[in-house]
Point group: C2
Chain length 143, copies 2
Amino acid sequence: MNCSIAQALEIIGERWTLLILRDAFYGVKKFGRFQEQLGISRNVLAARLNRLVDEGILEKVSKTAGGHPEYHLTAKGHALQPVLIALAQWGEEYMPHPKGQRFYIVEANTREPIRRLEPVSQDGRALKHHEIVSVPGPGILHN
Amino acid sequence: MNCSIAQALEIIGERWTLLILRDAFYGVKKFGRFQEQLGISRNVLAARLNRLVDEGILEKVSKTAGGHPEYHLTAKGHALQPVLIALAQWGEEYMPHPKGQRFYIVEANTREPIRRLEPVSQDGRALKHHEIVSVPGPGILHN
DNA sequence: CAGTATCCTACGTGATACTG
DNA sequence: CAGTATCACGTAGGATACTG
C-alpha cells in the first residue's frame, strides 16, 4: 500500500513497538529494563528490538561502561516523538484517569507543560481539522 | 497499564484501525468504500467499525440520503488527526517514495503545505526532543 | 449494499529451558 | 545479564456463504 501512514504502521504498528519506544524516550536503554517495565516476554522483546535496530530507529551500542549492550534512539527514532506525544495527549483528553492527568509533558527547563500538538500553516496559524486536506504528490501519481 | 499511550493503543493500536481512520479523514463514509479502499475482509471491517462506534470515535448515521448507513468522525475522532499527521510526516521523511512525496498535507484555502508537527512551549518556541520531559501527575501518583 | 455467521489457517504471544 | 530456541496456545485475519 503506497501510503506513508501504512508504511509507518508496517514498522511501528506492531504490538509492543510503540510502548518500547515510549520507554526509550523515558530513558530506558537496557534489555532487562525494557523487559521489567513492559512485562513482555523475552523472545518478543528481542524480536522487536532487532526490528527497530534494523529499521534504524534504535541503535545497538555494545561497548558500554557496564559491559552490557544498550539501545539508543537514533535521529529517526527521535523523530517519532510527535507520534507518541499526539497519542499521549489524545489518551489524556479522551480517556482520562479519574484522579487527573497521569503525566505532564513539560519543557525541561521551565517545567511548564507544552502546548497541545496542533497543525499549523506555514505562517503559523493553528488549523482546524476541516481546514486541512491532503493532495496527491509525485510519489502517488507516478506509482 | 496506567499510561495514556497504552490506553490509546488499546483502541487504535489494532491492525487496520488507523488505516480505517485515515480513510475516514479522506472522506470515506460507507462500508463498501472502506472495504474496497482497504482490501480488508468484511467481518474484520465490521468489527473495527463497531469498535470505533462503541468508543465514540465514529458515529453511525443510519438515515442518509441513499438510505445506507454512514460512519462519521466525532470530535473524539477528529482529535486523532495529529496522530495521523505525525505518522504521515514521519513516513514521508524516513521512508520516502523514490519519486517524491506521496501526499502533501495542505491548507484547504491556500493549498500551501502545513508545517511539520512539532512540540512547542507555552510561549510558542519550538522544542527539540531533549528539551522535553514528562513528569508524573495525580493520575499516576494516586494509582 | 451492508452486514452476520462459520470455518480454517497462520501468526503473534507467552512460558520455559538453554547458552555465552 | 542478554539473549536464543522450542513449544503450545489463542486469536486475529481472510474466504466464503448467507441474510435483510
